[in-house]
């Protein structure tokens, strides 16, 4: 069986500068796959290219066997890829519920209300504050909203860009355990993180990116225990 997401020899540039220099990786159905690496490694650029916000210079991206690297961003979500972007990017002046309903913008079925309930069950605080402007939320609450909004499109593949960024340890645990919950409910997840420990603990597979290249890959456990990762990302000698 072929992978759900297959990225091959992907090169992405900003003008003359290559941010991603020929990476290949894949995500299988039902997996959590983590891309870890420091700032500027090309993680966010990779996700933005998969979701169609950027175009690759060369290489290919396949989703469920179909090439998507020339599909418009607004059509990619319809194919079943949701992207919770770096910095959350919730719509600050719109209410929580409006934000969540926009997550379902691409859908034409009538089960949006049902999914709204499911998101509220996952994050009860969102229901309590459903009519408040999302811009008044704390970082952790905005992260829940961003994840809930991405789930509203009923994605097959959920891409999370640095969900733990700027969160308290308690909130981070909460967010990371939600990742596991979503996986158990059948969502495939591509997780981008600087926090290697948190990301690899939950990953079936992981890839380490450094300045636009994949330097290491393996199962989550292998990477967690590998010397390179321990030294470079977990601050151990």
């Amino acid at each position: 069986m072929s992978a759900m997401l297959e990225v091959r020899d992907l090169v992405v540039s900003y003008g003359k500068i290559k941010a991603v220099k020929g990476i290949s990786f894949s995500v299988d159905q039902g997996e959590v796959v983590s891309l870890i690496g420091t700032n500027g490694a090309g993680k966010t650029t990779t996700l933005r290219t998969i979701s169609g916000l950027m175009r690759p210079t060369s290489g290919s991206i396949r989703f469920m066997g179909k090439r998507i690297d020339d599909v418009a961003a607004h059509d990619i979500v319809t194919l079943g890829i949701a992207h919770s972007p770096e910095g959350r990017r919730i719509f600050p002046r719109l209410s929580v519920e409006q934000n969540l309903r926009l997550g379902a913008f691409a859908r034409r079925d009538n089960e949006v209300g049902k999914d709204l309930k499911a998101v509220y069950e996952l994050f009860p605080i969102l229901e309590e504050r459903s009519q408040q402007p999302a811009g008044t939320f704390s970082g952790g609450e905005q992260q829940m909203l961003a994840m809930g909004r991405a789930m509203m499109s009923r994605p097959k593949l959920l891409m999370l860009d640095e969900p733990s960024m700027g969160l308290s340890p308690i909130m981070m645990k909460r967010i990371m355990s939600t990742v596991t919950t979503l996986q158990q409910q059948g969502t495939t997840i591509l997780l981008v993180e600087q926090n290697a420990q948190a990301a690899l603990q939950r990953a079936n597979h992981g890839y380490v990116l450094e300045v636009g290249k994949i330097v290491l890959k393996g199962s989550g456990k292998e990477l967690l225990t590998s010397d390179e990762v321990r030294k470079a990302y977990l601050g151990e000698d």
Binding site: L53, A73, H83, R89, L94, G135
Partner: protein, 307 residues
């Protein structure tokens, strides 16, 4: 007292006209952060569209039933021009430095005025606008206050258009997409919103209201002129900034405030600085005062950094 009421009526009429045009500036700005300085010409084209419809189909008729068809003709003309303008002049410049679309807008504005002047029969001078039963004719009078019939049409058109627009933005799928795009384009695309389509719709909505304003202006003044879009556009832009650019309610409030302020200045400032000769000075003075003390406009939100 009667004088005051009379000037308020005059001001609300003028203000409704400004507001109808101002909405177009603000809707487009809210979506693409572009000041479409050719929007005054979209209004002018609307007036000529209505006139052409009447001349071609109903020459000599003054019956009320031709009015909706004239409005339709105005809307078709304005929306077509606005959509084509977006497609061929603004879209290729998306992502270019801001000065480029601004200069383009001025170019389009001149080109449209000249096109009408040269190619619309008789447009080198003012052309009489058809007078329609019920909405034009002898003015109405309430307790000594004179109200032109076309003024009632203008204010009514603003109320209906504003209500319709409010409903569209808040209660349709496309309206929700517009809200998302105005907050954050890239993230809106991630939600599945086709941003190009939303931008075209923003131009079309603005043109729709400007077309109605064009008809209203024709009925009020009983003539149209290829230059009519210039000052009206400038005033409406002022109204949009006054109310808070990007905010639809702001455009309506800004238009009405500007219209009333102008009328009051004409009626009540004594001596050489009063009267209609100075009304534009007072209108722009009001803009400057508001910008000094409340740069975001009357209803504009202060721009807050995203958390």
């Amino acid at each position: 007292m009667t004088d005051l009421l009379q000037q308020l009526v005059n001001g609300l009429t003028l203000g409704s006209l400004y507001a109808l045009i101002a909405v177009g500036y603000t809707v487009v700005y809210g979506i693409v952060q572009l000041i479409n300085f050719a929007h005054g010409e979209v209004f002018m084209i609307g007036a000529f569209g209505a006139l052409a419809t009447w001349t071609l189909l109903f020459q000599g008729t003054t019956a009320l039933w031709v009015l909706p068809i004239m409005i339709l003709g105005a809307v078709v003309a304005s929306v077509t021009v606005a959509v084509v303008m977006e497609r061929i002049a603004y879209r290729p410049l998306r992502g270019a430095p801001r000065l480029a679309p601004l200069i383009t807008a001025i170019g389009i504005s001149v080109a449209l005025q000249e096109a009408v002047r040269l190619f619309y029969p008789g447009a080198k001078s003012k052309i009489p606008f058809p007078q329609i039963d019920v909405v034009t004719g002898p003015a109405l009078s309430f307790a000594g206050v004179t109200v032109q019939r076309a003024a009632v049409f203008t204010v009514g058109a603003l109320l209906m258009s504003a209500a319709l627009l409010w409903w569209f933005v808040n209660h349709t799928r496309t309206g929700h997409g517009m809200q998302a795009v105005s907050e954050d384009k890239d993230t809106a695309r991630l939600m599945g919103v086709n941003v190009d389509r939303i931008i075209v719709i923003a131009f079309a909505l603005g043109a729709f209201l400007a077309a109605i304003a064009g008809v209203a202006q024709g009925l009020l003044n009983a003539n149209v002129d290829f230059r009519m879009g210039f000052l009206a556009g400038l005033k409406a832009f002022t109204a949009a900034v006054l109310g808070g650019i990007g905010n639809i309610q702001g455009a309506v409030v800004g238009g009405l405030v500007l219209g009333v302020a102008e009328a009051l200045a004409v009626g009540f400032i004594p001596g050489q600085f009063g009267g209609s000769a100075w009304k534009d000075v007072w209108a722009f003075a009001l803009l400057i005062i508001v910008l000094v003390f409340r740069p975001q406009g009357i209803l504009g939100a202060r721009v807050v950094d995203r958390a």
